[in-house]
């Protein structure tokens, strides 16, 4: 293996990629990152559909204390994350629809969980690095063991999502009818929370608990603005997450020490801004396109009824 040395990319992307992929940690990062992006893309669609972005945030915070506790006791932080996110996900699923009205209670519990995580880390000697990587994602890439864990948990979760897709979709759109139809909406709520918990636990390795929103909410928030068919929206959501993880890791490799998670969030955020601006652009284009008409009305063009005062088209806007 070539020893790592500081290089800038040179705009020959193919050569850059070939250089980058010589490194085992880069291959590992891309293998895990790809699965994480696919999982996050799918789960985030359900998060947006079920208006559970707060739960997504909450699970990330709860995960911090779990990971920090695991680090303190010498356990794989992934399992700490998983236990903490599953436990809090179950709690929110039990609260069900009422969870969205309990933001003060949940927020109070979350603050305590974060403080608990802080305490665990204070007792641990490797304080700064560990805290940093749980909060913001691994900086130097991830270990082969983490890749294995990601696949062991990510693939079954994707299978569960595929099996439950129809029921989850219907229960998310029309819970009361789903209930009357005899569907197990409480169980489905739990399945959703469990898949979200796994998605967050695996995604934390690349993005950290504090930035988890960028992978478990924003990709689908972008997608639902572009597509109203679920499968299209899910594919767009996966695409956004993949683009962010792939390109973010690429840029971070050549721009280190800037962290990967920063570039992932940056890309997601940039796409979000563009998508939010699209309706504005369309309105602007319509306004520009109507310019000749406006001008001819202003100058009293022939053909325009001169007796009736022409209504300026801008009057509605004013």
């Amino acid at each position: 293996m070539t020893s790592f040395q500081w290089v800038w990319w040179n705009w020959n992307i193919l050569e850059d990629l070939r250089y980058m992929f010589q490194f085992q940690f880069v291959q590992d990062l891309y293998a895990a990152g790809t699965l994480i992006a696919i999982l996050a893309g799918v789960v985030s669609y359900l998060v947006v559909l079920r208006r559970s972005s707060f739960a997504s945030h909450a699970l990330g915070h709860a995960g911090f204390s779990g990971a920090a506790g695991a680090v303190l006791f010498g356990i794989n932080p992934f399992y700490g994350l998983l236990v903490a996110t599953l436990a809090s996900g179950t709690g929110i699923a039990v609260l069900g629809q009422r969870a969205s009205h309990r933001d003060v209670e949940i927020g109070t519990v979350l603050a305590f969980m974060l403080a608990l995580g802080l305490l665990f880390l204070a007792f641990y000697n490797g304080y700064a690095t560990e805290a940093y990587s749980i909060l913001f994602g691994e900086i130097v890439g991830i270990s082969p063991a983490q890749v294995v864990t990601t696949f062991e948990w990510g693939i079954p979760t994707l299978v569960v999502l595929l099996v439950c897709y129809r029921q989850l979709m219907f229960a998310s759109l029309d819970e009361e009818v789903a209930d009357a139809k005899g569907m197990h909406t409480a169980l489905l709520g739990f399945v959703f929370m469990a898949t979200l918990a796994v998605a967050i636990s695996v995604a934390v390795t690349v993005i950290g608990v504090l930035l988890i929103f960028a992978l478990t909410v924003t990709p689908a928030a972008i997608a639902v603005r572009l597509a109203k068919r679920p499968w299209h929206a899910i594919l767009i959501s996966i695409g956004v997450a993949l683009l962010a993880v792939w390109a973010g890791s690429f840029i971070a490799f050549y721009e280190s020490p800037a962290p990967t998670s920063f570039f992932i969030v940056l890309i997601v955020f940039a796409i979000y801004l563009i998508v939010r601006a699209l309706p504005l652009l369309a309105r602007l284009r319509a306004w520009v396109a109507s310019a000749p008409t406006r001008r001819s009305l202003d100058s009293g063009a022939p053909g325009a009824p001169s007796s009736a005062p022409a209504t300026p088209p801008d009057s509605e806007r004013a």
């Binding site: 219907f170 029309d174 009818v177 789903a178 009357a180 679920p230």
Partner: protein, 281 residues
């Protein structure tokens, strides 16, 4: 034909189509407090029934009983000849509240498609499954006149459009009993009349027994086969002309009520101003 007394067609002959739903001395309550008591009614296939009454009288509670989401506190209730059970595929239901809001950017047709065989797991993948799902969806949307708006986003729909989609969602599984909870709420008089005519058309063409909860009987009155009037803890059932009389409603509310009719058959229900309780729905 129908009276306050015991339903007549109780003895179901083998092979004969019995009543869709049937109740005798039915009582319901939450935590020991009765909502209403001693209800007797019978709903025949293809009947269009209005469930009328003031807020909180227990109209939705009746639906929850029929759907098997709530158990009677007393009396007997049968739906399709058996005790009500949750998830009965012969019942189509449109609840009053939905999760749909402005942010729900999902094509309306998708909701109807999902409602068709909603209880299945796994995505529909074989051509046969997809074809039957698509055909049922298209037919349901066409029958409620929603083919044109089917590709619109749920979040961008007006109240009237949404009600059509919810109706298609309930009809897509070809139910024999349709329960519509306040579909006319939030609709102006014209849209309400349109929706009532649409529902009435479906009741007649599909021969689906339909219970429609409403505050105001007037948009419905010309089409109804039966009225279930719930107020003051009591339930009165019968033909509209039988139930909507000064005597019956005075009896029901326990205060003097007057039912006035205008030249086109519309009703105005007026409570006695001297009475302490305001009975007007």
């Amino acid at each position: 034909m129908i009276s306050e007394g015991l339903p007549s067609a109780r003895i179901a002959e083998p092979g004969a189509a019995g009543p869709v739903a049937w109740a005798r001395h039915l009582t319901v309550g939450y935590r020991g407090r009765p909502v209403w008591t001693d209800a007797n009614f019978e709903i025949q296939p293809g009947e269009f029934v209005a469930v009328i009454g003031p807020n909180g009288a227990g109209k939705t509670t009746l639906f929850r009983l029929l759907l098997g989401l709530l158990h009677p506190a007393g009396g007997e209730l049968e739906v399709f000849g058996e005790a009500p059970r949750r998830g009965n595929p012969r019942i189509g239901y449109v609840p009053q509240t939905h999760l749909v809001d402005r942010d729900t950017n999902v094509e309306a047709v998708q909701l109807v498609r999902l409602a068709f065989s909603a209880n299945r797991w796994l995505p529909r993948l074989t051509p046969g499954q997809l074809r039957s799902e698509r055909q049922a969806t298209t037919a349901a949307l066409r029958s409620v006149g929603a083919s044109e708006i089917a590709s619109k986003s749920l979040g961008a729909m007006s109240g009237g459009e949404l009600q059509r989609i919810f109706l298609a969602e309930a009809l897509v599984s070809a139910p024999d009993l349709l329960l519509l909870d306040e579909p006319l709420a939030n609709l102006d008089i014209r849209r309400a009349t349109e929706l009532v005519e649409l529902v009435h058309g479906q009741v007649r063409t599909r021969n689906v027994a339909t219970l429609l909860v409403a505050h105001d009987i007037n948009p419905l009155i010309r089409h109804l086969d039966k009225v279930i009037y719930i107020a003051n803890g009591h339930v009165a059932t019968g033909l509209p002309d039988e139930v909507l009389t000064s005597e019956r409603l005075s009896d029901l509310y326990g205060v003097p009520i007057e039912v006035l009719r205008d030249s086109r058959g519309n009703l105005v229900i007026v409570g006695d101003q001297d009475a302490h309780q305001d009975p007007a729905p």
